[in-house]
Protein backbone atom coordinates (compact mmCIF):
# COMPACT_ATOMS: atom_id res chain seq x y z
CA UNK A 1 0.00 0.00 0.00
CA UNK A 2 1.32 3.44 -0.93
CA UNK A 3 2.65 5.36 2.04
CA UNK A 4 1.56 8.77 3.26
CA UNK A 5 4.11 11.55 2.93
CA UNK A 6 5.75 14.26 5.00
CA UNK A 7 7.04 16.99 2.70
CA UNK A 8 9.34 19.92 3.32
CA UNK A 9 9.07 22.97 1.09
CA UNK A 10 11.80 25.55 0.63
CA UNK A 11 10.89 28.96 -0.71
CA UNK A 12 13.76 30.31 -2.78
CA UNK A 13 14.06 33.95 -3.74
CA UNK A 14 17.00 35.62 -5.48
CA UNK A 15 19.69 33.35 -4.03
CA UNK A 16 18.26 33.00 -0.51
CA UNK A 17 15.47 31.28 1.39
CA UNK A 18 12.31 32.85 2.77
CA UNK A 19 9.49 32.36 5.16
CA UNK A 20 6.06 33.32 3.93
CA UNK A 21 3.01 34.61 5.76
CA UNK A 22 -0.18 34.86 3.75
CA UNK A 23 2.11 34.77 0.70
CA UNK A 24 4.18 37.75 1.87
CA UNK A 25 7.85 36.83 1.85
CA UNK A 26 10.62 37.54 4.29
CA UNK A 27 14.21 36.52 3.60
CA UNK A 28 15.83 34.32 6.26
CA UNK A 29 19.23 33.35 4.89
CA UNK A 30 21.24 31.62 2.20
CA UNK A 31 22.36 28.03 1.73
CA UNK A 32 24.82 28.41 4.63
CA UNK A 33 21.97 29.39 6.97
CA UNK A 34 20.03 26.32 5.89
CA UNK A 35 22.97 24.02 6.48
CA UNK A 36 23.78 25.59 9.88
CA UNK A 37 20.21 25.30 11.17
CA UNK A 38 19.03 22.09 9.57
CA UNK A 39 22.04 19.86 8.76
CA UNK A 40 20.12 19.31 5.61
CA UNK A 41 21.37 15.88 4.54
CA UNK A 42 20.35 14.54 7.99
CA UNK A 43 16.94 16.20 8.09
CA UNK A 44 16.23 14.93 4.59
CA UNK A 45 16.18 11.42 6.05
CA UNK A 46 12.96 12.34 7.87
CA UNK A 47 11.01 13.56 4.85
CA UNK A 48 9.52 11.77 1.87
CA UNK A 49 9.92 14.56 -0.63
CA UNK A 50 11.66 17.89 -0.92
CA UNK A 51 9.97 20.79 -2.71
CA UNK A 52 11.95 23.85 -3.77
CA UNK A 53 9.94 26.72 -5.23
CA UNK A 54 11.42 29.74 -6.94
CA UNK A 55 9.17 32.50 -5.61
CA UNK A 56 11.36 35.36 -6.89
CA UNK A 57 9.30 38.26 -8.16
CA UNK A 58 10.27 40.10 -11.33
CA UNK A 59 13.24 38.58 -13.15
CA UNK A 60 14.79 35.42 -11.74
CA UNK A 61 18.21 34.01 -12.53
CA UNK A 62 17.24 30.43 -13.44
CA UNK A 63 20.84 29.23 -13.63
CA UNK A 64 21.49 30.49 -10.11
CA UNK A 65 18.33 28.72 -8.90
CA UNK A 66 19.48 25.46 -10.50
CA UNK A 67 22.95 25.75 -9.02
CA UNK A 68 21.50 26.32 -5.52
CA UNK A 69 19.23 23.29 -6.06
CA UNK A 70 22.25 21.14 -7.04
CA UNK A 71 24.16 22.33 -4.01
CA UNK A 72 21.34 21.43 -1.61
CA UNK A 73 20.41 18.10 -3.18
CA UNK A 74 23.70 16.46 -4.15
CA UNK A 75 23.80 14.27 -1.04
CA UNK A 76 20.14 13.65 -0.44
CA UNK A 77 18.37 10.73 -2.02
CA UNK A 78 14.65 11.41 -2.10
CA UNK A 79 12.17 12.59 -4.75
CA UNK A 80 12.66 16.24 -5.67
CA UNK A 81 9.90 18.63 -6.70
CA UNK A 82 10.78 21.96 -8.29
CA UNK A 83 8.54 24.81 -9.35
CA UNK A 84 7.74 28.46 -9.54
CA UNK A 85 7.72 30.73 -12.57
CA UNK A 86 7.09 27.92 -15.06
CA UNK A 87 5.80 29.29 -18.38
CA UNK A 88 7.08 26.93 -21.06
CA UNK A 89 8.07 23.34 -21.78
CA UNK A 90 11.69 24.56 -21.89
CA UNK A 91 11.36 25.81 -18.30
CA UNK A 92 10.31 22.33 -17.20
CA UNK A 93 13.05 20.70 -19.27
CA UNK A 94 15.64 22.77 -17.39
CA UNK A 95 14.18 21.73 -14.01
CA UNK A 96 14.02 18.05 -14.98
CA UNK A 97 17.63 18.18 -16.18
CA UNK A 98 18.50 19.62 -12.78
CA UNK A 99 17.02 16.67 -10.93
CA UNK A 100 13.27 17.39 -10.67
CA UNK A 101 11.13 14.27 -10.47
CA UNK A 102 8.03 16.45 -10.51
CA UNK A 103 7.23 20.10 -11.14
CA UNK A 104 4.62 22.36 -9.53
CA UNK A 105 2.58 24.79 -11.59
CA UNK A 106 -0.29 27.16 -10.87
CA UNK A 107 -0.65 30.32 -12.94
CA UNK A 108 0.06 28.52 -16.22
CA UNK A 109 -3.01 26.29 -15.76
CA UNK A 110 -5.44 29.14 -16.33
CA UNK A 111 -3.15 30.86 -18.85
CA UNK A 112 -2.06 28.20 -21.30
CA UNK A 113 -3.62 24.76 -21.19
CA UNK A 114 -1.90 23.69 -24.42
CA UNK A 115 1.44 23.85 -22.59
CA UNK A 116 0.01 21.81 -19.71
CA UNK A 117 -1.12 19.11 -22.12
CA UNK A 118 2.30 19.09 -23.77
CA UNK A 119 3.97 18.75 -20.35
CA UNK A 120 1.76 15.80 -19.45
CA UNK A 121 2.49 14.16 -22.81
CA UNK A 122 6.24 14.72 -22.59
CA UNK A 123 6.91 13.97 -18.93
CA UNK A 124 3.84 11.98 -17.83
CA UNK A 125 1.03 12.84 -15.42
CA UNK A 126 3.11 11.80 -12.42
CA UNK A 127 5.50 14.68 -13.16
CA UNK A 128 2.97 17.51 -13.15
CA UNK A 129 1.56 18.85 -9.87
CA UNK A 130 -0.99 21.65 -9.63
CA UNK A 131 -0.73 24.09 -6.75
CA UNK A 132 -4.30 25.07 -5.84
CA UNK A 133 -4.10 28.27 -3.78
CA UNK A 134 -7.22 29.44 -1.98
CA UNK A 135 -8.69 31.91 0.49
CA UNK A 136 -11.90 31.61 2.43
CA UNK A 137 -14.07 34.71 1.98
CA UNK A 138 -17.53 34.81 3.62
CA UNK A 139 -17.39 31.05 4.01
CA UNK A 140 -16.66 30.53 0.34
CA UNK A 141 -13.51 28.87 -1.05
CA UNK A 142 -12.00 31.16 -3.69
CA UNK A 143 -9.11 30.10 -5.95
CA UNK A 144 -6.12 32.25 -6.86
CA UNK A 145 -3.15 32.30 -9.22
CA UNK A 146 -0.13 34.60 -9.55
CA UNK A 147 1.03 33.99 -5.97
CA UNK A 148 -2.36 34.92 -4.53
CA UNK A 149 -2.83 38.11 -6.55
CA UNK A 150 -5.31 37.00 -9.19
CA UNK A 151 -8.69 35.50 -8.43
CA UNK A 152 -9.71 32.58 -10.68
CA UNK A 153 -13.16 32.37 -12.11
CA UNK A 154 -13.79 28.68 -11.34
CA UNK A 155 -15.72 26.90 -8.64
CA UNK A 156 -13.70 24.29 -6.74
CA UNK A 157 -15.57 21.46 -8.44
CA UNK A 158 -15.04 22.95 -11.93
CA UNK A 159 -11.36 23.48 -11.26
CA UNK A 160 -10.79 19.95 -9.95
CA UNK A 161 -12.50 18.53 -13.04
CA UNK A 162 -10.30 20.72 -15.24
CA UNK A 163 -7.12 19.48 -13.52
CA UNK A 164 -8.21 15.88 -13.95
CA UNK A 165 -9.06 16.40 -17.62
CA UNK A 166 -5.72 18.07 -18.27
CA UNK A 167 -3.95 14.98 -16.95
CA UNK A 168 -2.45 16.63 -13.87
CA UNK A 169 -1.00 14.01 -11.51
CA UNK A 170 -1.40 15.55 -8.07
CA UNK A 171 -2.80 18.53 -6.19
CA UNK A 172 -0.98 20.73 -3.68
CA UNK A 173 -3.81 22.36 -1.73
CA UNK A 174 -2.46 25.58 -0.34
CA UNK A 175 -4.32 27.83 2.12
CA UNK A 176 -3.23 31.44 1.68
CA UNK A 177 -5.06 32.44 4.89
CA UNK A 178 -3.21 29.87 6.99
CA UNK A 179 0.15 30.19 5.19
CA UNK A 180 2.87 30.86 7.76
CA UNK A 181 0.45 31.19 10.68
CA UNK A 182 1.18 27.84 12.36
CA UNK A 183 -2.53 27.49 13.20
CA UNK A 184 -2.95 24.13 11.45
CA UNK A 185 -4.42 23.09 8.12
CA UNK A 186 -7.99 23.96 7.13
CA UNK A 187 -9.28 20.44 7.69
CA UNK A 188 -12.88 21.09 6.64
CA UNK A 189 -11.70 22.36 3.25
CA UNK A 190 -9.36 19.40 2.87
CA UNK A 191 -12.27 17.02 3.48
CA UNK A 192 -14.44 18.87 1.00
CA UNK A 193 -11.76 18.79 -1.72
CA UNK A 194 -10.76 15.13 -1.35
CA UNK A 195 -14.44 14.25 -1.72
CA UNK A 196 -14.61 15.76 -5.23
CA UNK A 197 -11.18 14.88 -6.58
CA UNK A 198 -9.69 11.72 -8.03
CA UNK A 199 -6.06 12.81 -7.66
CA UNK A 200 -3.57 12.51 -4.79
CA UNK A 201 -3.85 15.53 -2.48
CA UNK A 202 -1.13 17.19 -0.40
CA UNK A 203 -2.07 19.76 2.26
CA UNK A 204 -0.01 22.92 2.61
CA UNK A 205 -0.34 26.14 4.56
CA UNK A 206 -0.62 26.34 8.32
CA UNK A 207 1.33 23.49 9.90
CA UNK A 208 2.83 24.68 13.18
CA UNK A 209 3.56 21.42 14.97
CA UNK A 210 3.54 17.63 14.61
CA UNK A 211 -0.12 17.35 15.71
CA UNK A 212 -1.14 19.39 12.66
CA UNK A 213 0.60 16.85 10.40
CA UNK A 214 -1.22 14.07 12.22
CA UNK A 215 -4.65 15.73 11.84
CA UNK A 216 -4.05 16.25 8.11
CA UNK A 217 -2.82 12.73 7.39
CA UNK A 218 -5.68 11.23 9.40
CA UNK A 219 -8.08 12.39 6.68
CA UNK A 220 -8.82 9.56 4.28
CA UNK A 221 -7.80 10.71 0.81
CA UNK A 222 -5.06 13.06 2.00
CA UNK A 223 -1.78 11.63 0.71
CA UNK A 224 0.70 14.07 2.16
CA UNK A 225 1.28 17.09 4.34
CA UNK A 226 3.77 19.85 3.68
CA UNK A 227 5.36 22.63 5.66
CA UNK A 228 7.34 25.60 4.36
CA UNK A 229 8.08 26.98 7.78
CA UNK A 230 11.80 27.46 8.37
CA UNK A 231 11.24 28.00 12.10
CA UNK A 232 8.49 25.68 13.38
CA UNK A 233 10.52 22.55 12.71
CA UNK A 234 14.01 23.88 13.07
CA UNK A 235 16.81 21.59 14.29
CA UNK A 236 15.31 18.20 15.09
CA UNK A 237 11.67 19.19 14.48
CA UNK A 238 11.14 17.11 11.36
CA UNK A 239 12.78 13.89 12.65
CA UNK A 240 10.67 14.18 15.82
CA UNK A 241 7.51 14.84 13.82
CA UNK A 242 8.09 11.75 11.69
CA UNK A 243 8.66 9.62 14.77
CA UNK A 244 5.40 10.95 16.21
CA UNK A 245 3.46 10.10 13.03
CA UNK A 246 4.88 6.55 12.99
CA UNK A 247 4.01 6.17 16.70
CA UNK A 248 0.44 7.17 15.93
CA UNK A 249 0.23 4.34 13.42
CA UNK A 250 0.14 6.47 10.27
CA UNK A 251 1.18 4.42 7.25
CA UNK A 252 4.51 6.01 6.40
CA UNK A 253 7.68 4.66 4.83
CA UNK A 254 10.42 3.39 7.11
CA UNK A 255 14.10 3.47 6.25
Amino acid sequence: MLKKRLIFTLLYKDGGFCISRNYRLQRVGGVEWLEANYKFSDVAQSIDELVILDVSRGVSDKDLFCSVVSQITQDIFIPLVLGGRIKTVQDVDLLVRNGADKVIINTLISEDQAVIKELVETYGSQCVIASVDYRITDGEMLLYSEQGRKRLDYTVEEYMDLLYDLGIGEVFLNSIDRDGTGQGYTLDIAKRVVAVIRLPVVLAGGAGNKYHFEEGLAIKGVDGVSTASLFNFIGNGLPQAREHLLDKGINMAKW
Binding site: M1, L2, K3, R5, Q45, D48, T73, Q74, D75, F77, I78, P79, L80, V96, R97, N98, G99, D101, G124, S125, Q126, G169, E170, R198, L199, P200, D223, M252, A253, K254, W255
Partner: protein, 220 residues
Protein backbone atom coordinates in the same frame (compact mmCIF):
# COMPACT_ATOMS: atom_id res chain seq x y z
CA UNK B 1 45.45 -9.72 -27.08
CA UNK B 2 42.39 -7.51 -27.09
CA UNK B 3 40.94 -9.24 -24.04
CA UNK B 4 44.25 -8.90 -22.22
CA UNK B 5 44.30 -5.14 -22.85
CA UNK B 6 40.78 -4.74 -21.51
CA UNK B 7 41.67 -6.72 -18.43
CA UNK B 8 44.28 -4.14 -17.53
CA UNK B 9 42.04 -1.19 -18.23
CA UNK B 10 39.05 -2.28 -16.16
CA UNK B 11 39.08 -0.48 -12.85
CA UNK B 12 38.01 -2.28 -9.73
CA UNK B 13 34.52 -1.16 -8.70
CA UNK B 14 34.08 1.28 -11.52
CA UNK B 15 30.46 1.85 -12.40
CA UNK B 16 29.42 2.76 -15.93
CA UNK B 17 26.03 4.49 -16.04
CA UNK B 18 24.62 3.99 -19.51
CA UNK B 19 23.31 7.20 -21.09
CA UNK B 20 20.89 6.36 -23.87
CA UNK B 21 18.95 9.62 -23.89
CA UNK B 22 16.34 8.46 -21.40
CA UNK B 23 16.01 10.94 -18.61
CA UNK B 24 18.24 12.58 -16.10
CA UNK B 25 21.14 10.52 -14.77
CA UNK B 26 22.40 12.99 -12.21
CA UNK B 27 20.73 11.47 -9.14
CA UNK B 28 21.95 7.96 -10.04
CA UNK B 29 25.43 9.37 -10.54
CA UNK B 30 25.30 11.29 -7.22
CA UNK B 31 24.13 8.18 -5.36
CA UNK B 32 27.00 6.00 -6.61
CA UNK B 33 29.49 8.77 -5.93
CA UNK B 34 28.04 9.15 -2.40
CA UNK B 35 28.75 5.49 -1.60
CA UNK B 36 32.31 5.88 -2.82
CA UNK B 37 32.07 4.24 -6.24
CA UNK B 38 34.15 5.49 -9.12
CA UNK B 39 31.42 6.16 -11.67
CA UNK B 40 31.12 7.62 -15.13
CA UNK B 41 28.32 8.35 -17.57
CA UNK B 42 28.83 6.23 -20.71
CA UNK B 43 27.33 7.38 -23.99
CA UNK B 44 29.49 5.32 -26.33
CA UNK B 45 28.87 1.54 -26.38
CA UNK B 46 32.56 0.96 -27.13
CA UNK B 47 33.40 2.22 -23.63
CA UNK B 48 31.20 -0.29 -21.81
CA UNK B 49 34.09 -2.76 -21.49
CA UNK B 50 36.06 -0.43 -19.23
CA UNK B 51 33.78 -0.90 -16.22
CA UNK B 52 33.45 -3.60 -13.59
CA UNK B 53 29.71 -2.83 -13.13
CA UNK B 54 27.09 -1.41 -15.47
CA UNK B 55 23.86 0.42 -14.69
CA UNK B 56 20.96 0.84 -17.10
CA UNK B 57 18.78 3.62 -15.65
CA UNK B 58 15.97 5.41 -17.42
CA UNK B 59 12.51 6.86 -17.41
CA UNK B 60 10.29 7.28 -20.43
CA UNK B 61 8.97 5.15 -23.25
CA UNK B 62 10.01 1.50 -23.67
CA UNK B 63 9.72 1.67 -27.44
CA UNK B 64 11.85 4.81 -27.81
CA UNK B 65 14.44 3.40 -25.41
CA UNK B 66 14.80 0.11 -27.33
CA UNK B 67 15.02 1.97 -30.64
CA UNK B 68 17.82 4.12 -29.27
CA UNK B 69 19.70 1.12 -27.83
CA UNK B 70 19.46 -0.67 -31.19
CA UNK B 71 20.34 2.32 -33.37
CA UNK B 72 23.43 3.03 -31.28
CA UNK B 73 24.41 -0.65 -31.05
CA UNK B 74 24.13 -0.62 -27.28
CA UNK B 75 21.86 -3.67 -27.28
CA UNK B 76 24.25 -6.35 -28.50
CA UNK B 77 27.25 -4.77 -26.72
CA UNK B 78 25.36 -4.92 -23.41
CA UNK B 79 24.39 -8.54 -24.05
CA UNK B 80 27.96 -9.47 -24.94
CA UNK B 81 29.45 -7.87 -21.83
CA UNK B 82 26.81 -9.33 -19.55
CA UNK B 83 27.45 -12.82 -21.00
CA UNK B 84 31.09 -12.34 -19.94
CA UNK B 85 29.89 -11.93 -16.33
CA UNK B 86 29.82 -8.17 -15.71
CA UNK B 87 27.08 -7.34 -13.19
CA UNK B 88 24.31 -5.20 -14.72
CA UNK B 89 21.66 -3.30 -12.74
CA UNK B 90 18.54 -2.03 -14.52
CA UNK B 91 16.60 0.71 -12.74
CA UNK B 92 12.90 1.43 -13.42
CA UNK B 93 12.54 1.46 -17.24
CA UNK B 94 16.07 0.01 -17.28
CA UNK B 95 14.84 -3.08 -15.42
CA UNK B 96 11.88 -3.45 -17.78
CA UNK B 97 14.23 -3.35 -20.78
CA UNK B 98 15.94 -6.47 -19.39
CA UNK B 99 12.70 -8.36 -20.04
CA UNK B 100 11.53 -10.18 -23.19
CA UNK B 101 8.87 -7.75 -24.38
CA UNK B 102 6.58 -4.85 -23.53
CA UNK B 103 3.21 -3.67 -24.75
CA UNK B 104 4.06 -0.02 -24.03
CA UNK B 105 3.79 2.14 -27.15
CA UNK B 106 2.97 -0.95 -29.25
CA UNK B 107 4.42 -4.45 -28.94
CA UNK B 108 8.23 -4.11 -28.54
CA UNK B 109 10.88 -6.78 -27.94
CA UNK B 110 13.30 -6.12 -25.05
CA UNK B 111 16.90 -7.14 -24.37
CA UNK B 112 15.59 -10.54 -23.29
CA UNK B 113 18.15 -11.06 -20.55
CA UNK B 114 15.37 -12.09 -18.18
CA UNK B 115 12.34 -14.04 -19.34
CA UNK B 116 9.60 -11.61 -18.42
CA UNK B 117 6.67 -9.64 -19.81
CA UNK B 118 6.07 -5.94 -19.29
CA UNK B 119 2.45 -4.74 -19.36
CA UNK B 120 0.26 -2.01 -17.88
CA UNK B 121 -0.51 -2.37 -14.17
CA UNK B 122 -3.99 -3.76 -13.64
CA UNK B 123 -6.16 -2.05 -11.04
CA UNK B 124 -9.65 -3.51 -10.88
CA UNK B 125 -12.84 -1.48 -10.33
CA UNK B 126 -12.85 -2.35 -6.62
CA UNK B 127 -9.44 -0.72 -6.42
CA UNK B 128 -11.02 2.54 -7.59
CA UNK B 129 -8.94 4.51 -5.11
CA UNK B 130 -5.68 3.14 -6.53
CA UNK B 131 -4.11 5.32 -9.12
CA UNK B 132 -1.92 4.67 -12.14
CA UNK B 133 0.86 5.73 -12.42
CA UNK B 134 1.96 4.11 -9.19
CA UNK B 135 3.94 6.92 -7.53
CA UNK B 136 5.40 7.05 -4.04
CA UNK B 137 7.03 4.93 -1.38
CA UNK B 138 5.69 1.39 -1.18
CA UNK B 139 6.66 -1.88 0.44
CA UNK B 140 8.86 -4.47 -1.25
CA UNK B 141 8.52 -8.03 0.07
CA UNK B 142 12.00 -9.44 -0.13
CA UNK B 143 13.45 -12.83 -0.98
CA UNK B 144 16.10 -12.70 1.73
CA UNK B 145 18.31 -15.17 -0.14
CA UNK B 146 18.96 -12.57 -2.84
CA UNK B 147 22.34 -10.86 -3.01
CA UNK B 148 20.89 -7.49 -3.96
CA UNK B 149 18.92 -7.39 -0.67
CA UNK B 150 21.82 -8.65 1.44
CA UNK B 151 21.39 -7.31 4.99
CA UNK B 152 17.66 -6.50 4.62
CA UNK B 153 14.81 -8.10 6.54
CA UNK B 154 11.78 -9.57 4.76
CA UNK B 155 10.40 -6.19 3.70
CA UNK B 156 11.54 -2.60 3.09
CA UNK B 157 10.11 0.60 1.58
CA UNK B 158 11.29 2.11 -1.69
CA UNK B 159 10.26 4.91 -4.07
CA UNK B 160 8.33 3.97 -7.22
CA UNK B 161 7.11 5.89 -10.23
CA UNK B 162 5.78 3.79 -13.12
CA UNK B 163 2.68 2.62 -15.00
CA UNK B 164 3.96 -0.63 -16.52
CA UNK B 165 5.14 -3.59 -14.48
CA UNK B 166 7.19 -6.72 -14.99
CA UNK B 167 6.00 -10.27 -14.61
CA UNK B 168 8.71 -12.99 -14.57
CA UNK B 169 8.28 -16.42 -16.22
CA UNK B 170 10.48 -17.90 -13.49
CA UNK B 171 9.06 -16.63 -10.21
CA UNK B 172 12.34 -17.38 -8.41
CA UNK B 173 13.92 -14.52 -10.36
CA UNK B 174 11.46 -12.06 -8.82
CA UNK B 175 13.39 -11.32 -5.62
CA UNK B 176 11.11 -8.42 -4.66
CA UNK B 177 7.31 -8.36 -4.84
CA UNK B 178 5.14 -5.26 -4.44
CA UNK B 179 1.40 -4.88 -4.52
CA UNK B 180 -0.50 -2.07 -6.24
CA UNK B 181 -3.79 -3.39 -7.55
CA UNK B 182 -1.91 -6.56 -8.38
CA UNK B 183 1.35 -8.14 -7.26
CA UNK B 184 4.31 -7.48 -9.53
CA UNK B 185 8.07 -8.04 -9.65
CA UNK B 186 9.63 -4.97 -8.01
CA UNK B 187 13.16 -6.42 -8.12
CA UNK B 188 14.75 -9.18 -10.21
CA UNK B 189 17.98 -11.17 -10.00
CA UNK B 190 19.30 -13.80 -12.38
CA UNK B 191 23.03 -14.53 -12.12
CA UNK B 192 24.78 -11.21 -12.82
CA UNK B 193 21.63 -9.56 -14.17
CA UNK B 194 19.72 -7.47 -11.64
CA UNK B 195 16.96 -4.93 -11.69
CA UNK B 196 14.78 -2.74 -9.49
CA UNK B 197 11.46 -1.27 -10.56
CA UNK B 198 11.87 1.24 -7.74
CA UNK B 199 14.48 4.01 -7.67
CA UNK B 200 17.29 3.18 -5.21
CA UNK B 201 18.72 6.65 -5.84
CA UNK B 202 15.48 8.18 -4.48
CA UNK B 203 14.95 5.76 -1.59
CA UNK B 204 17.02 7.15 1.26
CA UNK B 205 19.49 4.88 3.08
CA UNK B 206 17.72 1.71 1.97
CA UNK B 207 18.34 2.62 -1.66
CA UNK B 208 22.00 3.39 -1.07
CA UNK B 209 22.34 -0.01 0.61
CA UNK B 210 21.01 -1.67 -2.56
CA UNK B 211 23.58 0.19 -4.65
CA UNK B 212 26.37 -0.81 -2.22
CA UNK B 213 25.27 -4.45 -2.46
CA UNK B 214 25.37 -4.14 -6.24
CA UNK B 215 28.91 -2.78 -6.42
CA UNK B 216 29.96 -5.48 -3.95
CA UNK B 217 29.00 -8.19 -6.47
CA UNK B 218 31.83 -10.01 -8.20
CA UNK B 219 31.60 -10.80 -11.91
CA UNK B 220 30.29 -14.32 -12.47
Amino acid sequence: MEAYLYYNLIMVNSVGIIDYGCGNLRSVFNAFRHIGADCKIVDNPKDLVFFSHLVLPGVGSYRKAMQYLQQHEFDYKIKKIVSDGTPLLGICLGMQLLGSRSSEGGETPGLDLIEADVDLLVCSEEDGHLKIPHVGFNTVHIDTRSRLFNGFGDSADFYFTHSYRMSCKNSLQAIGITSHGEKFASAVEHMNILGTQFHPEKSQQSGLKILSNFIGLKPC
